[in-house]
């Protein structure tokens, strides 16, 4: 085979690979967020540690050595889901036993509060979520029960309002916010680009979130009541420009790349040059 033929065959192979890749990327989009556990972990002792929600995770906290590593134990999600709250959990023998031996018991993996947030996204080893968990996230987000067990008595005493928030993409929210909005809804305090149900927000959604966040953070403002109401509803503030006799809407720059409200710049339409600061 000559040089020309070799180059042609090589180019054809490359084109074929490229086509297959594009096809996989196109067809495989719905499968993008699947949770995939390799078959290599088919044996009992090779199974990945499970987090509090029963998802495989590599983010296991160090076990205490003496006790059986609880995060290697399959959880019992059905039992967890049926426990309505901390009071009921405290009445069951299993919960009472666990309170005394937090890290050494199997079967306690998904504690009662976890079930309330089972629909929330988690930081699984194979999750596509790009969001980082908050620094002060609850122990249950670290994939083991050892942390939760240590705080269980305290949690049971404090009641359901202190339910540890469980999601990586939905960090800690107040009980008030929980009451107002479901765990899968964006609320003020979250990043502008937070993914909800594995869907990235559109630019319009990010703008809406920005205005809602700004409305909450404004204290000493030149915006009147009407504009503040608009911002709380996720709309941009407006003003009347007396020079042209028209209403203008405030604009945002840097929204596409922004994750936090302070990365977005607000501006009114119209370019005005400062002759002493022109660059």
């Amino acid at each position: 085979m000559g040089t020309t033929e070799t180059i042609i065959v090589f180019a054809a192979l490359m084109a074929l690979i490229a086509l297959v890749t594009v096809g996989i990327d196109w067809i495989g989009k719905p499968l993008k967020h699947r949770r995939f556990i390799p078959r290599i972990y088919r044996f009992e002792d090779e199974k990945l540690p499970l987090d509090a929600y029963g998802h495989a995770t590599l983010d296991a906290a160090p076990s205490n050595g003496a006790a059986f590593p609880a995060h290697y134990v399959q959880p019992a999600p059905v039992v967890v889901a049926t426990i309505p709250g901390p009071q009921a959990a405290a009445g069951t023998p299993a919960a009472g036993t666990v309170a005394g031996q937090p890290a050494s018991l199997a079967g306690f993996a998904p504690a009662a509060p976890v079930a309330q947030h089972a629909a929330a996204p988690t930081r699984s080893a194979f999750s596509d979520s790009l969001a980082e968990p908050p620094s002060g996230s609850s122990p249950s987000t670290h994939g083991t029960n050892s942390g939760l067990g240590g705080d269980l008595d305290q949690w049971l005493a404090s009641g359901p309002s202190t339910v540890p928030t469980a999601a990586a993409t939905v960090p800690a929210m107040t009980s008030h916010a929980l009451a107002d909005q479901g765990p899968n809804e964006w609320h003020v305090g979250l990043a502008l680009d937070t993914t909800i149900d594995d869907r990235k927000p559109s630019l319009a959604t990010k703008a809406e979130r920005f205005w809602k966040s700004t409305a909450e953070s404004i204290s000493n403002s030149h915006f009147d009541h009407e504009n503040l109401e608009r911002m709380r509803a996720g709309k941009a503030p407006r003003r009347t420009n007396p020079r042209i006799g028209r209403v203008e809407t405030m604009q945002l720059t840097g929204l596409r790349q922004a994750s936090q409200p302070n990365q977005v710049h607000m501006r009114w339409p119209g370019d005005v040059v400062d002759p002493w600061n022109a660059s």
Binding site: R267, V272, V273
Partner: protein
């Protein structure tokens, strides 16, 4: 802020309204022509936040500090106390002047309590400007303006 100055402007002529017995402007218009010199002298300014006067020519430009721009901003934190602008453009007939302020890095005008009280004497004006924050005070920026006619 239910009856803000901005709402008073909306209820009537958006360039001028009456506020507590005084005429308040949102935009001050002046007749000019090419070659006229407009001299701004800052009398006082609030130290709380940056204040500015903005000037725009209807059909033409302004030569300020060596550059030619259609709309210029004279900010308290960048400009000298005395600024001189020259009207450029044969079709220029008028300039608009309005006040502005900077809050959290955002340059704003015509909001809430913003307005200017103007004392006029021939081609000399004294502008008492109120920014949009808090109640109208008309002491956030005080500027003297003198228009020197060309020819």
């Amino acid at each position: 802020m239910s009856n803000s100055l901005a709402q008073a402007f909306l209820s009537g002529n958006s360039r001028r309204t009456k506020w507590q017995g005084e005429v308040v402007h949102s935009v001050l218009g002046m007749a000019v022509k090419q070659g006229d010199i407009i001299e701004f002298t800052r009398v006082s300014a609030s130290p709380t936040r940056a204040q500015a006067l903005k000037i725009a020519v209807d059909k033409g430009d302004l030569r300020v500090n060596g550059i030619v721009v259609p709309v210029a901003a004279i900010w308290t934190h960048t400009s000298p106390e005395r600024s001189i602008l020259e009207v450029v453009g044969r079709k220029a007939r008028s300039v608009d002047i309005w006040n502005s302020w900077s809050l959290d890095g955002v340059d704003s005008s015509w909001l809430a309590s913003a307005g200017m009280m103007v004392k006029e004497q021939g081609d000399s004006y004294r502008l008492h400007c109120s920014d949009g924050i808090g109640e109208p005070t008309f002491d956030d920026l005080v500027v003297d303006i003198v228009v020197k006619r060309n020819g």
